[in-house]
Point group: C2
Chain length 262, copies 2
Amino acid sequence: MSRFGDSTAVRRVAEGRYETVLDGAFGFADAINGGYLMAILGRAAVEVSPHAHPVSTAATFQRVARPGPAEVIVEPRKVGRTAATSLVTLVQDGRRAVDALITTGTLDGAAEPSWSDTPPLPPLPPLEECADYQPDPGDEGIATQLDMRFDRATMGWLDGRPSGRPEIRAWFRFRDPHEPDALALALAVDALPPVVFNLGVKGWSPTVELTWHLRAVPAPGWLALHGSGRLLSGGWFDEEVEVWDSAGRLVAQSRQIAREGR
Amino acid sequence: MSRFGDSTAVRRVAEGRYETVLDGAFGFADAINGGYLMAILGRAAVEVSPHAHPVSTAATFQRVARPGPAEVIVEPRKVGRTAATSLVTLVQDGRRAVDALITTGTLDGAAEPSWSDTPPLPPLPPLEECADYQPDPGDEGIATQLDMRFDRATMGWLDGRPSGRPEIRAWFRFRDPHEPDALALALAVDALPPVVFNLGVKGWSPTVELTWHLRAVPAPGWLALHGSGRLLSGGWFDEEVEVWDSAGRLVAQSRQIAREGR
């Protein structure tokens, strides 16, 4: 029923070693999406942990991963009562593609926030006012899996009219009837086009490091993604993504640092 | 001339192995400051790298470090033309205290930002309007090293009047005449009291994970620190710190996730 669930499966082959098969349906032009890779690594981290959720993930991207078999190596670094940390590595063809420090914990689904900031301004327009791009014919990549509806005010770059502010906002869900879970948020924080497209940057912008924190397990329904950046200088840029669920809760926060495309 | 420079020194003892001595003057009640530890790890990462600056540091804090000898182990994970990534570990008494994924690069000091967001609002009040707390008599910790001037509007928690918003803002420099450098920013992003003190939280709030990015080597002079948070829920909170230099440039960005003190 869920392509994402099936495609993030890991199979234990030895203590701390897992096999997986990277699914090109979560790629773009034969490069596998970093958020999907983080979901796989989070799943392996939870497998070896006494805790249920990947609360904090700090990933460095060293080589592009391709569709096909890969291995996940999990080295526990600390196991504690409220949190456990592992070094989790994705290896493909004998070479490291991603290293991540992942801290697992168990979030209380019934916890009410002690304090929460308000959602970002401007809010996302309603779904029916957003732009709905269909996958190109023959596209077998991530656009076939994700149903995203974009705030038109942040998509002028598609028509050669970048807004001049590094911001992109969109609604997010799976195309198949799979409600978002904790691992889906790993995908959500890396699903937007680079926000610097609105500064006139074009082309592939490789992520160097991305850290995301799971703040709550999301409620069923659409997720709202707010992407923004603070600085583009010397070819380096930051991109922050906040994810809000259908219950109006902040469920994930991320920041990545990336290289400007050429 | 610089206590910070001396106290972050690392001495190579073998390939990828360094000795250091943790200086209690960068601690608080016998617990060593996490920012100071990140500065040491960054220095070791640069030692083994062809690049000059610790551009991105993602650190997980597993045990409190104490004043005295410690070892730094650097495992290169990828060496590239524009960036190199290492896993850097602080070990004390045979036990891991901190693991960090550190990506080094070489920032161009003459680079002009292609785009930069404006500094946060509200701005820091002028130095002379800020609160200047002197170290308590007998204090030999970090307050003896750092000259920080706090925005009074964010310090009501000291007098039992927390502001109700998780924000703390302060000017930052060393007490000795040492201008800020790239490594000083590792200290700056972890120098503020926990922002949740303004939500009525009290006591030690252990950092679980902290990621910071160096965006530019700072100009001489005071640094401006803007700390804020988005959510306190289930005992977990986030804290973001932005650091701006005397030339008005964004020089560092950080986010940490931490546990509420008890």
